[in-house]
Amino acid sequence: MTDLFRRPGLLIWSVAFAVCLALVLLAPQVRWIASFPRALQLPLADWLNAGLNPLFETVQPIGRGFATVIDAPLRLVRDLLLFVPWPAFAVAMFLVALRTAGRGLAIFGLIAQLYIVAVGYWTETMNTFAIVLLSLPPAVLIGFGLGVAGHRWPRLRAALIVVLDLMQTFPAFAYLIPLLILFGFGPSAGVIASVIFSIPPMARNTLVGLREVPAVIIEAGVMNGATPGQLFWTAKLPAAARQLLVGVNQTTMASLSMVIIVAIIGGFNDIGWEVLSAMRAAELGRCLLAGVVIVALAIVLDRITGALATGTPRGVVLMPDRGLLTVVAAILLAGIGLRLALPGLELLPRGLGFAAAKALDRSLLQFVGWSDPVFSGLRDALNYGIILPLRIGLATAASPMVWGFALQPWMVAAYAILTLALAVVLAPRRPAAALLILFAALILYTGLARFPWPCVVLIALLAAWRIRGVGLLAVVSTALAMILLSGLWQPFVQSLYLTAIAVLFCVLIGGAIGIAAAENDRLSQIVRPISDALQTLPQFVFLIPALMLFRVGEFTALIAIMLYAIVPPVRYVEHGLRGVPPHLVEAAVQMGVSRWQLLRDVKLPLAGPAIRLGVNQTIMYAISMLVIAALVGTRDLGQQVYIALGNANAGLGFVAGLSIALLAIVADRMLRRN
């Protein structure tokens, strides 16, 4: 007990636990504890709409005009891409891929293009490519400009980073709403959304690149008599070039990811739309065929732009670059010439794709029907065994309907006594762990969804204050107040527990894979390309397999989130473990540790920072997937954003979107130690 008073944190958390316990016990009697009183809720979304709509109406003509301005080059690029006969395009692409990313990717790209033609998605693919091509230059330029400004004026940097965080975590669907109102339904809104979403990676990489220019390069420039302008253009910028190209690579991938997502607007006949409409029509075959196109497009774009950033080490040099450019241009021009000469030429085969889709659809349906017992069994087991109890708690899950028996008072008493006993045993030596067990047991009893809201508020505020101080406390209070007042508490809790479960599973499974990959080189060689591929794919793609195996529902959403968010723990854990200095491992081995002791006592603690970063990334990935996963059926904030998009309700979209963004930013700040 004396320990309790020596460490104020323990005392505060003990009191907090007592308060939470009291609230949980009181909740059945006192209504306002169980759910936030309706009378206190404010129509924040409506107020926002009332404020925003007149603004939208005044700005709308400008927006529509702007949309037409964007529309012209977009159609031009698209028409040009489609005008080039596909064989010419494929050969040109092959040469570019060969020079930059090497033989493997060149062949992969060629096969991918043959596949696209065969299944009949050439037009759709070129439409998507056109939007990416058009949104890339503004995103790169603006991102570069912001990064340079943040580097030049250090006071601007902190504000800039917050803005970039918001831009990246604010769900695209949410800012798509005002964009649609302003710019009208059409691909221009998609271009703008894609630009907004792709700016942050460029800006961040510019900041990092310029900051990490070696001091000696700058000093050499200064001592050679460079003016500030000369120093920037002749020393800093070339030294940061690699990092800037990494930024271009990431911006390209972000842009592609967003272009696929904003296909939801419709009206441009692109590949994302193809997947989405197939998904809605439950045509699994078509969905998969189009999904493969997206995967191939993502891999080719990533490897080519990525190779530029690493100096094209695998590139095959057939001729000098200038000659190669001439040849590529000549091939494309020859293709265009051919098309002009023979206006009736139709190179794209018809019908093959449709037939393939039908056939694939049938066999997939067969497979799904055949495998259904396995997957629905798995789904039900996880649902009833783990997810439902976490959501509605042992108190409710243990009912005749769910588990086949009702919770008896003696069971509750046994649960309480067991928990208390465990806590008491742990308390003297590891008081923090004891407290953690008490909280976990309490939450597991009521379930996350039914954990009284004042308890969540109390824990969140205390955690924010204890971990990061008053600044974060203010952010958390604002966010919670906004969520409670706007009546979004239940969706928020759904988001919270979806994220929590996804992160928990990802960290456990991904962490285990990461550890195994760090200990076993052969496994690492298998895992690494899979992680690479998963990380380059647009978020949207992860819905397809989840949907096929588990049908519509929250569980499917969870699987999709996990598929997307499992890469960071795998990568960071392996990276952290492999990054442990070899001399420390040698020292430990010399002292005679077992392999397990080496992992537990040396490697894992030293890999701590990397692992923490991995967990942080997992949370970010999971939260950013919430809105996408809403497409396959959830009841969380993501669904609210999606609903708002359907109703063009900018206010609701903003409140729900901001809640998700703040959830992500708060989680990030809490996990990131100074």
Binding site: P214, V216, I217, E219, A220, V222, M223, N224, G225, A226, T227, Q230, T234, A235, P238, A239, A241
Partner: protein
């Protein structure tokens, strides 16, 4: 090892000088404060440390004369990098003054400063500081390009410099394709491309292997014999300092504790710290005959030797029975008489504190 200097450097005009220079890291102190000198400066530094600030440079004063090699020597964290950066104004000192050709360098405007760096200063860096994206030729031509010189002219000049440091044929190589020694030759060529009078070298050879380092030191001395630059040279290696320096300043915790010729440091160390430093240096190769000759004590019939010879050159003669030497002035070294007994006594006593040697 003959020196180019015709007369003692001290008799030539001062090229760059600093007076009571202070660099303080941490929250900037009040500019109105006066740090004082001598014991007052020590007290001021103590107060700064107590207030959580780091006085990286404490009351540094010295003059560097034209054509002199002035070596600043200290261990890591002693403030030598800070000192050279204050002299070049890569960082700004809090107190004190720096004068270049008698002009106040700290008062120079950014524009004037750029001009001074373009024409009067060259600098070589420990980690070379080569632009990784430029070829050897472009790197050496870089300072000329910054001045807006036309491509043919600057490349011609750069080729001259590359040939001066013996890198002919490697003009098109990228820095990453060169060895450390070659990279530093590029760094040297670049720093000399604008023909500066004042040459700063910040631990230029510390990143190199010992064999290469020695070779580069010889080439450096050879270059200096031809170019007669005024040189401020930073090192943490006392052997390098003794090999290259006309004078050495020893820096400890930001404070200069002794300035003197290599022989001064060996024969008359200012304190135990300096004595400790020079303990491993072979006095026979560093001390010149002229350093220990006694003017006016020539003995008739003595063997004549030049004043700039290292003392070790006499050992064979001593071993074969020569007892008296007549030292002829050479370069900056004076002449006089020298007995074999004195030579042996000095070599034997080196490193001990009760040294009354040269003066006595």
């Amino acid at each position: 090892m003959t020196r180019s200097s015709a007369a003692s450097p001290a008799s030539r005009p001062v090229k760059i000088s600093c007076r009571n220079l202070w660099k303080i890291y941490g929250t900037p102190p009040d500019r109105a404060m006066r740090p004082g000198q001598g014991p007052a400066a020590a007290e001021f530094a103590r107060q700064l440390r107590a207030a959580g600030r780091v006085p990286a440079l404490v009351d540094a004063s010295f003059d560097v004369h034209e054509g002199e090699i002035f070596v600043i020597m200290g261990l890591s964290g002693s403030g030598k990098s800070t000192l050279i950066r204050c002299l070049t104004r890569l960082i700004d000192a809090e107190f004190g003054e720096v004068r270049l050709d008698g002009e106040d360098l700290l008062a120079a405007t950014p524009k004037q400063l750029i001009d001074i760096r373009r024409h009067k200063m060259g600098m070589v860096f420990q980690n070379f500081g080569l632009m990784p994206h430029l070829s050897v030729l472009e790197n050496v031509a870089y300072p000329l390009k910054l001045q807006g010189e036309a491509k043919p002219a600057r490349e011609a000049r750069a080729r001259q410099m590359i040939s001066l440091v013996g890198l002919d044929g490697r003009e098109q190589a990228l820095p990453s394709q060169l060895s450390g020694g070659q990279q530093q030759r590029v760094g040297i060529a670049r720093s000399l491309a604008v023909e500066p009078d004042l040459w700063f070298l910040d631990e230029p050879f510390s990143a190199l292997d010992p064999m290469i380092r020695r070779q580069m030191q010889d080439e450096f001395l050879d270059l200096q014999r031809r170019l007669h630059k005024t040189i401020v040279f930073i090192t943490h290696d006392i052997a390098e300092a003794c090999r290259l320096a006309d004078r050495i300043a020893i820096l400890r915790d930001g404070r200069i504790i002794q300035i003197g010729t290599p022989a001064d440091l060996l024969l008359r160390p200012a304190d135990d710290y300096v004595a400790e430093f020079t303990a491993d240096i072979s006095p026979a190769s560093v001390i010149r005959v002229g350093d220990i000759a006694r003017p006016g004590q020539e003995v008739a019939g003595a063997r004549t030797v030049a004043g700039d010879l290292p003392v070790e050159a006499l050992l064979t003669d001593i071993a074969t029975g020569t007892t008296d030497f007549a030292v002829q002035p050479a370069g900056k070294y004076g002449g006089g008489g020298l007995t074999a007994a004195r030579v042996l006594r000095i070599l034997g006593r080196h490193g001990r504190q009760d040294d009354e040697t040269a003066a006595g």
